[in-house]
Amino acid sequence: MRLAALLLAAGLAAGCAGMDAAMRTATSYASSKGLISESQAESLNKSETALRRGSQEISESEEYYIGRAVSAQILARYKPLDDARLNAYLQAVLQTVAGASDRPDTYRGYHVQVLDTDEVNAMSAPGGFVFVTKGLLKRVRSEDELACVLAHEVAHVSKKHGLKTIKASRLTQAFAILGTEAAKSYTPDQVARLTASFAGAIDDVVNDLVTKGYSRDKEYEADRFAAEYARAAGYDPDGLKSFLSRLESEPGAGGLFKTHPSPASRLARLGDLSAPPGYRRSSVRDRRFAAAMRF
């Protein structure tokens, strides 16, 4: 068994690209020398395949199920605001900026829910689930600003920031369960072990989203793409700056003040943002924004 562990470690040390060949050579040699049986060699090769799968991307549908469970945990902590008009308006703005992004299609599309709390925050779960608090909406002054806020969340989804917080070991465990044979559905034991990996992955994402926040680099990247997506959708990306300037002048506690870099540092990295060609202010946008924000 120690030899098996050493062979597996050798394969891992060779890195993903060279692991397959290195592992097969090592197991073949060990088998030919009688150090391990043929079945042990095959088993090790299968384990290697399973581990290698851990480095691959999570599928669209798996991302969707991770996003659903993360969202279910967020909605256990925050009460959803039952305001059909407001939620429908935000949904239209979200679909607009998501459509203009470099990832308009997720497994089941983008969806938004307003959270009934005065905390100032916005979050997104993998797969396209976006949350905005009532407290944040009270600080937004126009549809263009709102579009930039939602575009920031779309960028987190598009760049898969949530998925990147999942510890590699969770996926290694999950793929090790799946790696050896095909089946129509999972056995109770497989489901139990997959659920344990799944729960760990959900904890990883929720912890970063709600408690720690993403890394500063991910937030700056989301700002950069938010400006790009908003502009591609026909909005003025400068709305992101005006919103961040308001947060800077009216600071608060908790929420995004705890999980995001300071508004000043975010503003400093945005640089000049220009409105799209043919951009025009719109009284219709102003009116529908004002009508939806009556909550």
């Binding site: 909605l75 793929f175 489901v191």
Partner: protein
Amino acid sequence: MSKRTRAAVLLALAALLPAAAAVAATITVLVHETKIRRRPQFYAPAVATARLGQTFSAQGPRDGWYRTAAGYIHASAVTAKKVRLSAGGAVAGDASADEITLAGKGFNEQVESSYAGKHPGANFAAVDAMERRTVSDGALRRFLETGGLLPDGGGK
């Protein structure tokens, strides 16, 4: 070969380059469903709906869009990699690194159901309600149009 003939051959080859660059690929839809659009723009009218697992012969992607005989599909909805459809849409354990498995494997409905049983506080009912909220293609176009968000001529 005279200089003139050589120049003519080079010109002819140059003319062929764009066609050679637009290599056809088979793409497979990875999302539950996506719109096929008349033009490579998110606000262009939809001409059809493509569903999970459907395949198309396509050219591209160019600026994020594949061109098919039916219309344009965004690259984020598809893969040009070889797709493995396992029996029952479930596990395909030994797919090679450049193959991918379609929906059904790994973290799926069965796993979510098991997770929900162990985490009764998780509010999946609110997630279901959230997912029912969507703006139709037609309504979104009206939203863009009335809000002055379509470029000039974009509504045609």
